[in-house]
Amino acid sequence: MAEQLVFDADQVTAAVAEGIEKIQGASTLEELKAIKTQYAGADSAMTQASKAIGSLPAAQKKEAGKLMGKLRADFGRAYGPKEAELKEAAEKAALAAETVDMTLPINRKPLGARHPLAKLMEDVEDFFISMGWQISSGPEVEAEWYNFDSLNFGPDHPARQMQDTFYVKGNQAKDAAGFVGSNMVVRTQTSSDQVRALLTRGVPLYIASPGRVFRTDELDATHTPVFHQCEALAVDKHLTMADLKGVLDKLAVAMFGPEAKTRLRPSYFPFTEPSAELDLWFPDKKGGPGWLEWGGCGMVNPNVLKSAGIDPEVYTGFAFGVGMERTLLLRSDINDMHDLVEGDVRFAEQFVMGE
C-alpha cells in the first residue's frame, strides 16, 4: 500500500532550491546526473510533490500545479546550461588526452617509383598521341634488312660500319657482302621500325616508335651500350621540311618548356635526304641558355619509301629521332649516365611517379 502523499509547497520549493544550488556546484557530468536523479528523479521531492497534487482539494490544485511548473522550469534552466558546460569540458579533456604529435614520420609502406626514363617515354608518347599520331614498336633483335638495307644502308655502305652494331651470331646465313652471319642485329636505332610500320600500316602514316636500342659503346658518363630512342615518322602527301621543323619545335616545348626551340644543321643519314642534325635551344642550360645536340632528322629518303612500295613521287615524309637518356639528362640535370642505368633505387625514388 502506497504511503499517503502530502503536498508541501515549502518543502518542495526548498528542495528544488537546494537542487539548483547543487547543480551550480557540480563539477562532472556524473555528479550532475546524480543530482538530477536526486532532485528530479522518480523519488525526488519534486516528483513526489507533483504526484501529491492529485490529492489536494480542487481549489488548491491549480495553485499547486502552477508552483510545480515554475519549480520544474527553474530546475531545468539551471540544469541545461550546466550540462552543456560540463559536456564541453569533458569533451575538451578527452580530446586533450588523445592529442598526438602529428609530425611523427608515418611510413608503413614504401612509396615505390617508376624509372624516370620509362616515365619520360610515356610523356613523349603522350605528346604524339595528343597530335593524333600512333605509337608503334618493333623487335629489338631485328633482321638486318629492317635495320639497314630497307633504310638505304646497303651492305657495303660506310655508314653501316659507323654504327657500332652488335651482330647476332648465326650459323646458317651469309650476308650480302659474303660474310658469315645471321642477317640479324640487335637494332641500333628505332628507325628499324619505319619500314615495318609503312608495310603494315600503309600511308598516310603518323607514328612514333619509342624503344630500346643497342650500340657497342662502353658505359661511361655520357654513353651506354643499351639506351632508348624515340623515332617519329610521318609520310603523307604535301609534307615538307617545314612540317618537320614544326613538330620538332612542339616536341622541344613539350619537353623543355615554352622557351625551347630547335635548329637544324646539314648532316647525313642514309635514310633521310635532306638530312640534318637537330640542335635544341635549352633555356636551363648550365652556364646560360644555349644550343645542344639533341638528335637527327630529315626528309625520308625515296629509297626508304620504295623499300615499302610507296611512290616517292606522290608521297613525302619526314623522320626524326631523339635520345631519351640525353633528354632526361638535360631535363633533370643528371651528370652521369651511370645513375640512369645502374638501377639504384635512390635514383628512381627522387622521381617517384613522374617529375
Binding site: 617509383a113 620509362a118 605509337i135 633482321a143 644502308f153 598516310p204 621540311m241 644543321r265 617517384v352
Partner: protein
C-alpha cells in the same frame, strides 16, 4: 677525322684576317662539317729565337760531349751580369748539331712543352743551364730528335732568315701557338677528306673566293691525247678484272707517271713536315711525304714505287685463291678472290708479283726506299665497295681506303700526280716524265633530271629558279635547261653522292640555309583507332600499379652469361642453345641475351644491396629473347625494293620470339620497421599480392596452379612457387626464390619474385567493355564456414568448390583464417571463410540460406573437407 689548319686552308680559299678556329668551326658547321674538337696548343712560352754566340764542347766522363753555350735571346730575355749588363744566357746543349753562329729555338724557364715538360733553370754538368735549345720532337713538331732545330734549315728564304732576331717569339713563327680544328666528315662527303674539299665548303658557307687547285694542275699535266702516235709511255698498264662486285670494275682509272733522277737524300721541307705532323701523320721520307701531302691536300690517295724494282706491265687484277700478301705493316694476309691487287710482271710473267692491296695498303716489295732514284707515281680510282670490303676483311682501315670507300674524284688523278711530281722536282731534284700513262674507263657522270619545284615539295623552301641554278653551278654541277622549270644536272666528278633529285634538294637547302625553311605543323588525319592501344594502356597500368604497390622500377641490361646461369641454377649448355648470342659482345662474360628478366634484375637488386640499401624491391618491364635453333635462316635482301610477301614472311620467320615480360624481386621487409613497429619480412605472399594487384588492375582473371615440388623449376622454392594461369594459358611464375638462389645472390632468405609474360597475358584479354551485373538491394545473409581439409587440397580448390555450390546467390567469399596444428590433426589444415549470400530478386529466407549452406558442405565433402562445428 681530319684536322684543319687555317694556314693550309688559305692555300685554296681566302679567309678574313684574324680568322679564329672558333669562327671557322661555326662557318663549317653551317654547311654540314661538324666540329669534333678544337685542339688547343700543347705548348706555352716563352719560346724565342736565339743566336748561338759561342758553343764550347766539354767532354764528359761518360764519353758524351756536352756544349756549354751562350745564346743571345735579346735584351728582354738575356741574363744580367754583376755589372747590370745584359749578356747571353748560359745553356747546356748535348745536341751534335749545336754550333756557334746558328739561330736556334730557345725554350725559356716558364715554358711548358708537350707531355707537361716544364722548363726551369737547372744545374747540370757543372753549369747553370738557363733554358733549353729544343728539338722538333720536344716541341711536338715531329719525330726528329737527332739534333736541335736549326732555323737555317727550316724553310725560310734568305731574307726571312736574316730578319729573324734574337728574342723574337718563336711560338708563332713555328705555329706552336696554333690550335687545330678537328671536324667530322659524314660518309657521303668523301671529298671533304681534303683541304681542296673543305676550302670549297668554307667558300659555300662564307662566300669567300675559292680556287680549285685541281684546275691549274690539270692544265699543266701532260695530256695523253696529245701524244704522237707510237710514243712510249712511262709504263704499260693493264686492268684485268675477272671478278667485279655488283658488276662494277674494281679499278676504272689507273694513272702512272715516272719521276727520274730523284735525290734520295733530299729532305722534306720543314713547312711540309709541320703540316703533315699537325695533320697527325709521321714524316717518313720526301717521296712518301709528298704522296701523303697530296692526299691530304687534294684527296687523291697515291702510291710511290721504286721504278727500278718494277717490271711492266702493271696489272690490276683480283687475287687468285690461295694468294698471300705481306703488307707494309708487316702483317701477312690470306687474300680473297674479291681483293683487288696491284701487280707487276717480272720476267715477262704477267701480273705475277703482288705490289699491294689496291687502295688499301702497299706490300713489302716495290716500295720506295732510301735508295730509290727513279719513282713511279700511282694515282688511281678504285671501286668503293671493293676497297671497303678489302679494308674490312683484312682489318686495315688506312687513310687511302677511308677515301676510296667514300668515293674519290674520278678526274683528279692527272692533277694529283702533277702536284706530286712538281714537289718531287722542287725538293728532290726529280725529273717528271712527259708521258704518263692513263687508263681511263670512268663512266660518264650521270645526268639528273631535276624539277625546280622539288625544292618546295620536299624542303618547303621557296627558292628562285635562277638561284637554284647558281647554287648547283657553284657546287660544281653542270646545269642545262631551266626554261620550263626543269634542269639537266650533271654532278661534279668529286660528288658521287649526288644521284637523285633529293640529293640536289639537300644541296640547295643547306646552302640557302636550313634556318630559312618556314615552320608549320601537319594535321594528322584521324582515321581508325586513335590514342594508345589497349595493350599499351595495360602495360602502363602494370608499371604504375607495381610502383603504387611500393616497388621501384629498374631497366637492366639484357646481357647474361655463365655467372647468371650459375646463380639461377640454369643448365648452361641447354640455356645457351636457346639463347641469342652476340657475335661481338661488349662484355665477354655476358655474350647472351636473357630469356627471363629475373637474372638481370637480380644483378640490379644485388648492386643495391651491396650499396647498403635494405628492403630492395625492384621490378622491370622489358623484352626477353627466345632463340630457336631450328629457325630458318634470314635472307639478305636488297633495299629500295619492296620485298615479296614470301620474303617478308621469311624475314620474320627467322627472328627469335621476343615477348614483353614483367618481373619483380622483393627482398627484406615488406612492412617497414619504425617507431610504429609491426615490421614484417617479405615472403611468397608479397609476390602473390603483387601479381594479383597487376591482374586486378587490368582485369585479368589469373589463377595460381601450384605444382608438386618435383615439377617446380630449379630456381624456385619447391614448396612456395606456383604457375600463374589465365584459364588454360600459362603466363608466368610466382613464389619464393630457391634458398640456394637467394644465398648465391646474397639476398635475405624468403626473398620472393615473379615473372609474367605480358604478351601472353594481354592476349587472353578481350578488351571488350565490362558487362555490368545489376546491383541487388535485397538484404544479405552472412555466414562463417570453417573446414578441415587435407593439406594437399589447395585453398583455390576449396574456394572453387564453395563458389560452384553457392551458385548465383553467392555475393562474396573471403578467407579469414588458416591454421594447422594438433587441433586439426596431422596432415590437415583448417580454412575459415566469411561468405555473404544475397539474391538478386528476393529476400533470402532462413530455409534458402540453409539450403545453400548444405549444398556447400556437400560439395566440400567431395574434396574431403569437413565443416568444423
Amino acid at each position: 677525322m681530319p684536322m684543319i689548319d687555317i694556314d693550309w686552308l688559305k692555300d685554296h680559299v681566302e679567309v678574313p684576317e684574324g680568322l679564329t678556329y672558333e669562327q671557322l668551326a661555326k662557318d663549317l658547321v653551317k654547311v654540314g662539317l661538324e666540329e669534333e674538337e678544337i685542339h688547343s696548343s700543347q705548348v706555352t712560352g716563352p719560346i724565342v729565337v736565339g743566336y748561338v754566340v759561342d758553343a764550347t764542347p766539354e767532354p764528359q766522363k761518360n764519353g758524351k760531349i756536352i756544349n756549354w753555350c751562350h745564346v743571345d735571346c735579346g735584351d728582354e730575355w738575356n741574363e744580367t751580369d754583376e755589372n747590370g749588363n745584359k749578356v747571353p744566357r748560359g745553356i747546356i746543349c748535348g745536341a751534335p748539331n749545336m754550333k756557334a753562329g746558328e739561330k736556334v729555338v730557345v725554350t725559356l724557364p716558364g715554358a711548358v712543352l708537350p707531355g707537361d715538360f716544364k722548363i726551369e733553370p737547372r744545374k747540370t754538368y757543372g753549369h747553370i743551364s738557363n733554358g733549353m735549345c729544343a728539338s722538333e720532337r720536344e716541341l711536338g713538331l715531329g719525330d726528329n730528335h737527332n739534333g736541335i732545330i736549326l732555323l737555317r734549315e727550316y724553310g725560310f728564304s734568305k731574307a726571312e732568315y736574316d730578319a729573324l732576331k734574337p728574342g723574337q717569339d718563336a711560338m708563332h713563327l713555328l705555329h706552336l701557338d696554333q690550335p687545330l680544328l678537328e671536324i667530322n666528315i659524314t660518309p657521303d662527303r668523301g671529298y671533304t677528306l681534303s683541304y681542296r674539299g673543305v676550302a670549297r665548303e668554307y667558300h659555300h658557307s662564307t662566300g669567300q673566293p675559292y680556287t680549285d687547285p685541281a684546275v691549274a694542275l690539270n692544265e699543266k699535266a701532260p695530256e695523253p691525247s696529245d701524244y704522237q702516235p707510237g710514243t712510249k709511255v712511262d709504263i704499260d698498264i693493264e686492268i684485268d678484272d675477272n671478278n667485279p662486285i655488283h658488276g662494277v670494275p674494281g679499278c676504272d682509272r689507273y694513272y702512272a707517271r715516272v719521276v727520274k733522277n730523284f735525290d734520295p737524300t733530299a729532305k722534306t721541307p720543314n713547312w711540309m713536315r709541320r703540316r703533315l705532323t699537325r695533320a697527325g701523320m709521321r714524316s717518313l721520307s720526301l717521296a712518301v711525304d709528298v704522296t701523303n701531302y697530296v692526299m691530304l691536300d687534294l684527296g687523291q690517295p697515291m702510291h710511290a714505287y721504286d721504278l727500278d724494282k718494277i717490271e711492266g706491265p702493271i696489272v690490276v687484277r683480283r687475287a687468285n685463291a690461295g694468294e698471300k700478301l705481306t703488307t707494309l705493316d708487316g702483317k701477312e694476309h690470306e687474300l680473297s678472290t674479291e681483293d683487288l691487287l696491284i701487280t707487276d710482271s717480272p720476267n715477262g710473267e704477267r701480273g705475277s708479283r703482288i705490289l699491294g692491296l689496291a687502295g688499301v695498303m702497299g706490300g713489302l716489295y716495290g716500295e720506295v726506299t732510301s735508295e730509290t732514284k727513279n719513282i713511279l707515281l700511282e694515282a688511281a680510282h678504285f671501286d668503293q665497295v671493293t676497297i671497303a670490303r678489302s679494308a674490312r676483311r683484312h682489318k686495315i682501315p688506312s687513310e687511302a681506303s677511308r677515301r676510296f670507300e667514300r668515293g674519290v674524284d674520278t678526274a683528279l688523278q692527272p692533277a694529283a700526280t702533277e702536284m706530286a711530281a712538281e714537289l718531287l722536282a722542287r725538293y728532290g731534284n726529280g725529273e717528271p716524265s712527259d708521258f704518263p700513262n692513263d687508263v681511263n674507263n670512268t663512266p660518264r657522270p650521270k645526268t639528273i633530271h631535276f624539277k625546280a619545284t622539288e625544292v618546295a615539295r620536299v624542303a618547303g623552301l621557296d627558292v628562285d629558279i635562277n638561284r637554284i641554278s647558281d647554287i648547283l653551278t657553284d657546287i660544281g654541277c653542270t646545269v642545262a635547261g631551266g626554261g620550263n622549270g626543269e634542269f639537266s644536272v650533271t654532278a661534279p666528278t668529286w660528288r658521287p653522292d649526288l644521284n637523285e633529285p633529293c640529293d640536289l634538294v639537300e644541296e640547295i637547302a643547306r646552302l640557302v640555309g636550313y634556318d630559312q625553311i618556314p615552320v608549320s605543323v601537319p594535321p594528322a588525319p584521324v582515321e581508325g583507332l586513335v590514342g594508345l592501344t589497349p595493350n599499351q594502356l595495360r602495360r602502363r597500368r602494370v608499371a604504375d600499379e607495381l610502383a603504387e604497390y611500393g616497388m621501384v622500377e629498374a631497366l637492366s641490361y639484357p646481357f647474361v652469361g655463365d655467372e647468371d646461369y650459375k646463380s639461377f641454377d640454369y643448365d648452361p649448355a641447354a640455356t645457351k642453345k636457346v639463347s641469342v648470342e652476340i657475335a661481338n659482345p661488349l662484355y665477354g662474360d655476358r655474350p647472351y641475351l636473357r630469356r627471363e628478366i629475373l637474372p638481370t634484375l637480380a644483378t640490379t637488386v644485388q648492386r643495391n644491396i651491396r650499396r647498403g640499401i635494405e628492403n630492395v624491391s625492384l621490378y622491370e618491364l622489358g623484352h626477353v629473347y627466345l632463340w630457336d635453333p631450328n629457325a630458318p635462316a634470314i635472307p639478305a635482301l636488297p633495299g629500295g625494293v619492296r620485298p615479296t610477301a614470301e620474303q617478308l614472311a621469311a624475314l620474320d620467320a627467322g627472328l627469335p620470339d621476343q615477348p614483353d615480360h614483367v618481373a619483380g624481386i622483393l627482398t627484406g621487409l615488406a612492412e617497414d620497421e619504425g617507431w610504429l613497429g609491426g615490421k614484417r619480412p617479405v615472403d611468397w605472399s608479397d609476390a602473390v599480392e603483387a601479381i594479383r594487384r597487376i591482374a586486378g588492375r587490368i582485369g585479368a582473371p589469373i589463377e595460381l596452379d601450384q605444382p608438386a615440388a618435383e615439377d617446380v623449376p630449379v630456381q624456385w622454392h619447391p614448396g612456395r612457387a606456383a604457375r600463374v594461369m589465365v584459364g588454360e594459358t600459362f603466363v608466368g611464375w610466382v613464389g619464393e626464390l630457391h634458398p640456394r638462389v637467394n644465398e648465391a645472390l646474397g639476398f635475405p632468405c624468403h626473398s620472393a619474385a615473379f615473372e609474367l609474360n605480358l604478351t601472353a597475358l594481354f592476349a587472353t584479354l578481350s578488351g571488350k567493355p565490362v558487362q555490368a551485373k545489376p546491383i541487388s538491394t535485397f538484404p544479405p545473409v552472412k555466414q562463417d564456414l570453417a573446414f578441415t581439409v587435407d593439406s594437399t587440397v589447395s585453398a583455390a580448390q576449396l574456394e572453387a568448390a564453395i563458389r560452384e555450390a553457392a551458385g548465383a546467390n553467392l555475393e562474396s567469399i573471403e578467407l579469414f583464417d588458416v591454421f594447422t596444428g594438433e587441433q586439426v590433426g596431422e596432415g590437415k589444415k583448417s580454412l575459415a571463410y566469411a561468405v555473404v549470400f544475397r539474391s538478386p530478386d528476393k529476400t533470402l529466407s532462413a530455409e534458402d540460406s540453409d539450403a545453400i549452406r548444405q549444398a556447400i558442405v556437400a560439395k566440400a565433402a567431395e574434396l574431403g573437407a569437413q565443416l568444423r562445428a
